[in-house]
Assembly symmetry: C2
Homo-oligomer: 105 residues x 2
DNA sequence: TAGTTTTACTTTGTTTTTCAAAGTACTTTA
DNA sequence: TAAAGTACTTTGAAAAACAAAGTAAAACTA
């Protein structure tokens, strides 16, 4: 490890994306509206952050019609779950005071 | 709490700022060069992220000369320490799977 | 059944943030 | 005293974030 933040994943460096992943880790899927409400985000915000995670292959999208209305369902991919867990491990390591951050005694 | 990310502090939403605060939580101070090396960041990057934290009154800066060379020392303020600890609490709460993120049984 | 509102998103363009290269002001070394 | 190094700061381009506006179909309303 070259530096103390090298294992922190840039893709999860934003609270909305962190929130999306957290939701998708405990639920096998969540739809657009659910994410929007849980995160208190605007439509455009949910759209762009989910798109960013999709681009990285961390989540996938399934579009269908439920009750004749369009429904967009987001699901964390295996890659995404793995990446997120590694991110959490990196966070824990960084934030744990007993981890060599002290520069002098 | 209106939504699951409302207690996550936007000011710490970036890995470099997270790293700076982590370092300043365990060390009573750190200078420019130390932060730069620990974080593996560029000069401009350290400058702008410390400035952002300074603007929020989360860290303060002390400038002096050591061995006739300019030295910039960063110190976490009481406000900053408090804000960071609250941020960590919010993160833990969000990331703990047993915290009401499940939308259905 | 024509018009209005709502739902479920997507697109757009502005604003904000991030970033590293270049700049500054010294000090040190040759 | 010229060149190189140190310790930052400034700058401006590039990328990201954001919410307002747009779209399209459904549902309600008169």
């Amino acid at each position: 490890m070259k530096n103390i933040i090298s294992n922190i994943n840039k893709a999860f460096d934003h609270r909305i994306r962190l929130g999306i992943m957290s939701v998708l880790m405990v639920n096998d899927h969540a739809d657009f509206k659910t994410l929007k409400e849980l995160l208190g985000a605007t439509d455009g915000n949910v759209a762009s952050h989910t798109k960013a995670l999709e681009k990285q292959n961390y989540i996938k999208v399934e579009k269908s019609f439920i009750d004749r209305k369009p429904n967009t369902k987001y699901i964390a991919t295996t890659t995404g779950r793995k990446a997120f867990q590694e991110h959490l491990a990196a966070l824990e390591k960084l934030l744990n005071p007993e981890n060599g951050l002290k520069t002098k005694s």
